[in-house]
């Protein structure tokens, strides 16, 4: 009976990654002197289940590797080996290596076994140091091959023998077309080339040779049988015959092998570890060519080709794990909804005016149920932020060693829940900020002592909810932002002019400008390319914001504000001409009727509005979007002041309609990204309304300002088109 195991691959990967995470966090918790047996057991269990399931699925490399790892852990667990800091380091490296291998397997990429081989060596060294039992596994791979008994196939053994780096004997049969010489090809030259690859033995086949009178000297009657002993792979051999392969009979096979091996780099990779893509092709009698990632699977795949189809590509799908309580509450709510629906249905069949109160009550209940249901469904997408935070202990540990700093990482609010999509997108900016804090923020122990601070620096990651947003704080007690340096850099870059008077806040905000890194030298850790401007932009794309507060000598605090979800948005409905648009409520500062005395027309086609002590560029939405407004006079319109980061613009609208929660639908699903529009939604009456992308609009206003400054002479008319 054959079961298609590939359907379980997704689950396998998820479980394995989870296992790796457990291993990593447990490893970081280990205190060598005071070993907690439960922690070791926990790591062992994770490793063991990865090994078990990977061998079930035929991922031999992973199984082989985990086996060695497990052997060491087993000894520690039994108490026959003392765990040292070096061991932990090695185990952490193995976790990384496994992570890489699994990621490669998941995306159906060939696995790079170089690192795992090195690590296996190291493990074997440790294991051989004391244990005679482990010495038996001098060839870890050989043992593991036997261990993963699934790969019994001849082909797999042949294949693994190749990847073990032996010289392979290739049998090459070459019977060229009679016209070979006429096309300018010279067999002798090919033989010379082959001889360069290794030991070559050639036998000519004279079967077709005619009698001398019938012989045409311009035709080729010979065929050749060759044996080539080489370390090179089949591709190299094929290259020699590249020009003639179409018009000749050519067979290349492993001498004595049952299968024709087409090996691309597989052998070479383990020998020279130069080529990154080992692919083994197995030609079965059925002439179906499959390209599995590795030799052991080759056997399985060869077996599979006896079935009707080629190995199908598994599409990568993301999934989410939801706690059973959330599902239960959902089921309850649906139950309530059904009850309300049947109540209303009954009411509808025998309705008269006396029951109006009942109807209203029922409708209120329906609304209540719907809202709760919506919230519950949204909650399914929410995950605790610990999923993102969990990567930092390891990162801080590695970096603090690398940088020679003593750092303590404090995490709080890990249970704060966040939408999965937001979480995925906030990961990289957070990593960047933490790296920055480590590298630039915190001082070296010597500097810290000199400054009268404790030797160990502290980085705190804190997450909490605040008025419908999630806030993430990255706090360090390092040297803080250097105002002078920032100002200098800003003047140097032409971001500000020298005389400009800026508040501390404004100065600190400058670090989010493009091309702004005050790091004197580019280090491995930070200061390379991705600047704070990218961090800010990434966060703004999520409809969030980032701020920094810093006291020189005492440290900095970065605060990220993010919406709880990307699926629903509080929107302000506005009317421009015949169209209704939606402005995200979070970005609206205020809406007002403009006082014409406060509006100035700046040369270049840009109007600015003075809001208290600020000049704000005005965007005429009808102009940008090519609409016909009710009135072109500003005095008859309303201004909606929106803010992104620290930039503000005033959008001219005909009318403010109402506020409501809208479900965001993507325009890109069936169309494409539209400038100035972040998405669409469906209003109560079933019509589509477009949601304004405030960030885009502010950038548009920025372009307009550039034109005002004479940097770019674009009139607002052409810009609008």
């Amino acid at each position: 009976m054959s079961i298609d195991l590939s359907q379980f691959h997704q689950v396998f990967f998820e479980e394995s990654f989870e296992g790796l995470q457990t291993m990593e966090s447990s490893l970081l918790d280990i205190d060598c002197e005071n070993l907690d047996s439960e922690t070791i057991n926990c790591i062992f269990r994770a490793a063991h289940s990865i090994k078990g399931s990977s061998s079930t699925f035929g991922f031999t490399e992973v199984a082989e590797f985990t086996h060695v790892l497990e052997t060491l852990l087993d000894q520690v667990r039994e108490g026959s080996r003392q765990l040292s800091q070096d061991h932990i380091e090695l185990l952490l490296q193995s976790v990384d290596c496994l992570n890489g291998m699994l990621t490669a397997l998941q995306s159906e990429q060939p696995v790079d076994t170089q690192q795992s081989k090195q690590l296996i060596e190291q493990f074997n060294c440790i294991l051989n140091g004391s244990e005679p039992e482990a010495a038996a596994s001098e060839s870890a791979s050989a043992k593991a091959v036997e261990e993963t008994a699934q790969s019994k196939e001849v082909a797999s053994e042949a294949a693994s023998s190749i990847s073990n780096g032996d010289i392979t004997t290739w049998q090459i049969t070459f019977i060229p077309d009679v016209n070979l010489l006429r096309t300018g090809n010279e067999p002798l030259r090919m033989f010379r080339e082959l001889a360069e690859l290794g030991e070559l033995t050639v036998t000519a086949k004279l079967d077709n040779l005619p009698d001398l009178p019938a012989l045409n000297p311009e035709e080729c009657y010979l065929g050749w049988e060759m044996y080539l002993d080489t370390r090179e792979d089949k591709q190299k051999i094929e290259e020699v015959f590249e020009w003639v392969v179409d018009e000749s009979e050519l067979h290349i096979s492993v001498a004595g092998g049952l299968f024709d091996f087409e090996e691309d780099a597989g052998a070479a990779e383990s020998l020279e570890s130069a080529q990154p893509s080992p692919v083994v092709e197995v030609e079965t009698p059925a002439e179906v060519v499959v390209k599995p990632e590795k030799p052991a699977v080759a056997a399985k795949a060869a077996e599979a080709t006896l079935g009707p189809k080629e190995t199908a590509k598994t599409s990568e799908s993301t999934s989410i794990r939801v706690s059973i309580e959330k599902i239960d509450s959902l089921v309850n709510l649906v139950g309530e909804l059904v009850i309300t629906q049947s109540m209303l249905g009954q009411l509808g069949t025998e309705f008269d005016l006396s029951k109006l109160a009942n109807l209203q009550e029922g409708l209120a209940q329906l609304e209540h149920n719907t809202r709760e249901l919506q919230e519950s469904v949204m909650r399914i997408r929410m995950l605790p932020i610990s999923f993102t935070f969990s990567r930092f202990p390891r990162m801080v540990r590695d970096l603090s060693r690398q940088l020679g700093k003593k750092i303590e990482l404090k995490l709080s609010g890990e249970q704060t829940e966040l939408d999965k999509t937001v979480m995925e997108k906030i990961g990289d900016p957070l990593v960047h900020l933490v790296r920055n804090a480590l590298d630039h923020g915190l001082e070296t122990p010597e500097d810290r002592i000199a400054a009268g601070k404790p030797e160990t620096g502290t980085i705190t990651l804190n997450a909490f909810h605040q008025s419908g947003n999630i806030m993430i704080e990255i706090i360090d007690d390092g040297r803080g932002l250097n105002k002078e340096k920032i100002l200098q850099k800003a003047i140097q870059n032409g971001v500000i002019i020298e005389q400009e008077q800026l508040s501390d806040e404004q100065v600190q905000d400058l670090i989010f400008q493009p091309g702004f890194s005050t790091a004197e030298q580019v280090t491995d850790v930070s200061g390379r390319g991705v600047g704070m401007d990218v961090v800010r932009r990434n966060i703004q794309e999520l409809n969030g914001g980032i701020e920094v507060k810093s006291v020189e000598g005492e440290g900095s605090t970065f605060t990220i504000r993010l919406p709880l979800t990307l699926a629903i948005l509080d929107g302000q409905l506005i009317q421009v001409g015949d169209q209704t648009y939606i402005v995200p409520l979070v970005s609206i500062v205020e809406s007002l009727q403009p006082d014409m005395n406060l509006i100035n027309h700046v040369a270049g086609g840009c109007d600015v509005f003075r809001l208290r002590d600020e000049y704000i560029p005005i965007i005429k939405l009808w102009e940008v979007f090519g609409e016909e407004p009710r009135s072109r006079e500003l005095s008859e319109s309303l201004l909606v002041v929106v803010e992104v980061g620290s930039a503000k613009v005033a959008i001219v609208v005909d009318e403010l309609l109402g506020q409501q929660q809208v479900v965001i639908k993507s325009m890109e699903t069936n169309y494409k990204k539209v400038e100035g529009i972040s998405g669409a939604t469906i209003l109560g009456d079933g019509t589509v309304s477009l949601i304004l992308d405030v960030t885009d609009l502010v950038q548009m206003a920025g372009d307009q300002q550039n034109s005002k400054n004479g940097l770019k002479l674009v009139s607002s008319k052409t810009w609008a088109a």
Binding site: Q579, V624, F625, G626, E627, K665, S666, M667, T669, N670, Y671, K672, V674, E675, G676, I677, A680, I682, G686, T687, V688, S689, L690, A721
Partner: protein, 183 residues
């Protein structure tokens, strides 16, 4: 059904090259400026009457806007304007054919505005003549082939070519006239 669908998904151009087995495909035809056009019926999701759309700012004129199709945002394309034909006012008979288009970025749902829906024909690939080469000036890649049905020419459109690309090439009226004459 399923296999037929897959075949048409992938082998739009191999159909031009012709197949060994005599299979027929069904085509939905519609009228536009007195010409009859056909699309693979398996790509047709539904046929709707014209309803008002929400225009997309700064979109090309043939993109009329988007509609709400049971919760999905679907762009509507005026095929007349797309082909550079004269504009007509939308009336009660104006029809939107909602199609599933395969693009590089996956399947997309789009609607095309046409004058009226005509008929469904079963056509074999042998009946189909490839579009004549009209020189470099005229892009005919969106034409799957030409077919004579009851001594009337039907232009079979390759939906993926026609609507799949983000940038939509210009197809002028003169090109179509030329096409008709050469046929």
């Amino acid at each position: 059904m399923n296999t037929a669908e897959e075949r048409t998904y992938e082998n739009a151009d191999t159909e031009l090259a012709g197949r060994e087995n005599e299979q027929t495909d069904q085509y939905l035809t519609f009228i536009m400026a007195e010409e009859e056009y056909g699309v693979d019926i398996l790509r047709v999701q539904e046929i709707r009457g014209w309803e008002s759309v929400t225009p997309i700012p700064n979109a090309p004129s043939h993109i009329k806007g988007v509609i709400n199709l049971r919760g999905t945002i679907v762009p509507i394309i005026d095929l007349r304007q797309r082909f550079g034909l004269s504009k007509v006012d939308y009336g009660p008979l104006t029809v939107v054919i909602v199609l599933k288009v395969n693009t590089e970025k996956g399947a997309r749902v789009m609607g095309i505005v046409v004058d009226a829906v005509s008929d469904v024909y079963s056509l074999s690939s042998d009946d189909m003549k490839s579009a004549p080469d009209l020189g470099d000036q005229v892009n005919t890649s969106y034409i799957k082939g030409l077919v004579n049905v009851n001594s009337k020419m039907v232009i079979l459109l390759d939906i993926n070519e026609l609507l799949g690309a983000d940038t939509i090439p210009d197809v002028s009226l003169s090109a179509l006239k030329e096409l008709k004459e050469s046929n």
